[in-house]
């Protein structure tokens, strides 16, 4: 057997609490204590979550020559073909429209995958959940990491696009990084909420899918928000659309547009509400999740 002496044993003792108690549900104080414990233990195991996320991507492309760069290629092909088609349909200049469309689509795909994968983060890990006591945080992290890796491969397309079309790139674009970080936090919160709800109600993933399709059309992804300027009332589509604020705080800096305080504040409010609701939903459902698998 592996001999665990001295420091090894000490490390193990701090990492995995040898003392464990569980009891019947005793209300919100206990629930939030368990959630806090779950998140802390889950982040301690971040290397496991990372390895699981990477393995998911690798398995998806095992045996293929290009591997995960198929993601890059298929995104490039899609944006290239759509760009020419829509620039013609919307009568816009390809040199301004193509970068806008490319950045928007790639960012939207990231948002979409965070939302859709959130729903399956627990049901997809059924074997692990019913086999061992593991922090649920690991499954939520795994889902976010997987989506982030896919997004990382698609960023290459943005660079290619900017270089080919000679778009002006400056350090100002780096302001989109805090926004991306906020997305990761939001995706993590969303995984807890949708993961739990979808484990209980198996129709919800389909509903989320349909809602995201509608959201794609009513959010300025393919079209520019400025086209709503002359349509009073229609701008409600944007003003009440949480996706718009979140998208804009990352897309704005990338395309050299101004990042207004108003926009950032609204994105933060959306995130705050999301995190709050997710924490409540996860605290309420955590003890029941294993029963729903």
């Amino acid at each position: 057997m592996v001999d665990l002496t001295g420091t090894d044993r000490a490390i193990r003792a701090t990492l995995r609490q040898p003392l464990f108690t569980t009891s019947a549900d005793r209300g919100w104080a206990q629930r939030f204590r368990l959630v806090t414990q779950d998140v802390i233990e889950g982040f301690v195991l971040w290397r496991l979550a990372w390895a699981l996320g990477v393995a998911d991507i690798r398995l998806r492309y095992r045996g293929s020559v290009l591997g995960p760069f198929w993601l890059t290629l298929s995104t490039a092909v899609m944006i290239g073909s759509m760009g020419f088609l829509y620039a013609d349909l919307f009568h816009t200049d390809i040199h301004t429209y193509l970068p806008y469309l490319g950045v928007s689509l790639i960012l939207w795909n990231f948002i979409g995958s965070l939302v859709l994968d959130a729903g399956s983060c627990f049901t997809g890990a059924e074997g692990l959940i019913k086999g061992t006591r593991m922090p649920f945080t690991v499954h939520a992290l795994r889902s976010v990491i997987r989506d982030a890796i896919v997004f990382g491969h698609n960023i290459i397309v943005i660079f290619l696009l900017f270089i080919l079309l000679r778009v002006h790139i400056s350090f100002y674009s780096l302001l989109s990084l805090p926004g991306l970080l906020l997305w990761l936090v939001d995706g993590f919160a969303l995984a807890f909420m949708f993961g739990a709800v979808c484990a209980r109600f198996r129709d919800v993933p389909q509903i989320i899918g349909s809602v995201m399709q509608i959201a794609f059309f009513i959010t300025p992804v393919m079209w520019n928000a400025s086209v709503l300027a002359g349509h009073p009332g229609a701008d409600l589509l944007i003003r009440l659309n949480p996706f718009y604020y979140l998208l804009e705080i990352v897309r704005g800096p990338l395309l050299g547009d101004d990042l207004t305080f108003n926009m950032v504040a609204k994105a933060l409010i959306v995130s705050f509400v999301l995190i709050l609701v997710s924490a409540l939903a996860f605290a309420r459902t955590r003890g029941r999740l294993a029963y729903w698998m």
């Binding site: 665990l4 995995r16 040898p18 464990f20 390895a51 398995l59 006591r133 209980r200 294993a290």
Partner: protein
Amino acid sequence: MTHLSSFNISVDFPLYHSDNRSLKKSVLGVAAGRFGVDRNRRPVVQALRDISFTLRSGDRLGLIGTNGSGKTTLLRALSGIYQPTCGTLSIEGRLTSLLESTQGMNMDLTGRENIRLRGLFLGMSGPDSARLESDVETFAKIGEFIDLPVRNYSSGMIVRLAFAMATAAQPEILLMDEWIMAGDTAFLEKAKRRVEAMVQHADILVLASHSSAIIAQWCNRVIWLEQGKILADGRPLDVLSEYLPPEQFRELVASISMTAKIGDVGVTEQLEASDG
């Protein structure tokens, strides 16, 4: 000090994806059954009822009972997977549960990759993880298969790998379900020696099995579950003598005294005690 205590643990399974109305009929119809309703009047299956026991270092508990008596559910509750509906569970010691042979393994990854994931789960660093890998490799003895996806393994090989992974990291408390019996005789013998070595280090084993021979050989205490309740709790041969039909119990005793001659002191003592 390693211990595992269960205080009045009850587990109810909600019945969500079923027809409520016909279930309510059956709840009313079968008074002695295990269907009930929870506080919100939703139908549930009462999988475990008021399970209380305490295990200390050196205890090897066997769980017996017919199919559906609650053995696996109890193991899951003890693992901390199911939060109990009532009661409290208190554990001190590193716990590993072997509930399904494929548990925790990704079938598309190779055996070696799965061992590495297990190492990460245990919070191991580089050298620790390498030692875990070589230890599992030598114990499981599945040869070149270790570098093939687990999907290509035979069920016996999966058992070998899972058992090696679960025990290599020296758990202080080991919970095992009966699937371990899928291993061949040589492997079972090796597995038994490993568990014995583990329990000698003042640790705890909980084993659910339908094999009375395994229970009698591996355990020094037996709990008989029926309908989610404890029906009997005591020394293995005492409980087994009530559980098994008389002729099967005589066969079991005969087979044990045969192997006991080879030198299993614990069993011989027990046999003498139950004779007297």
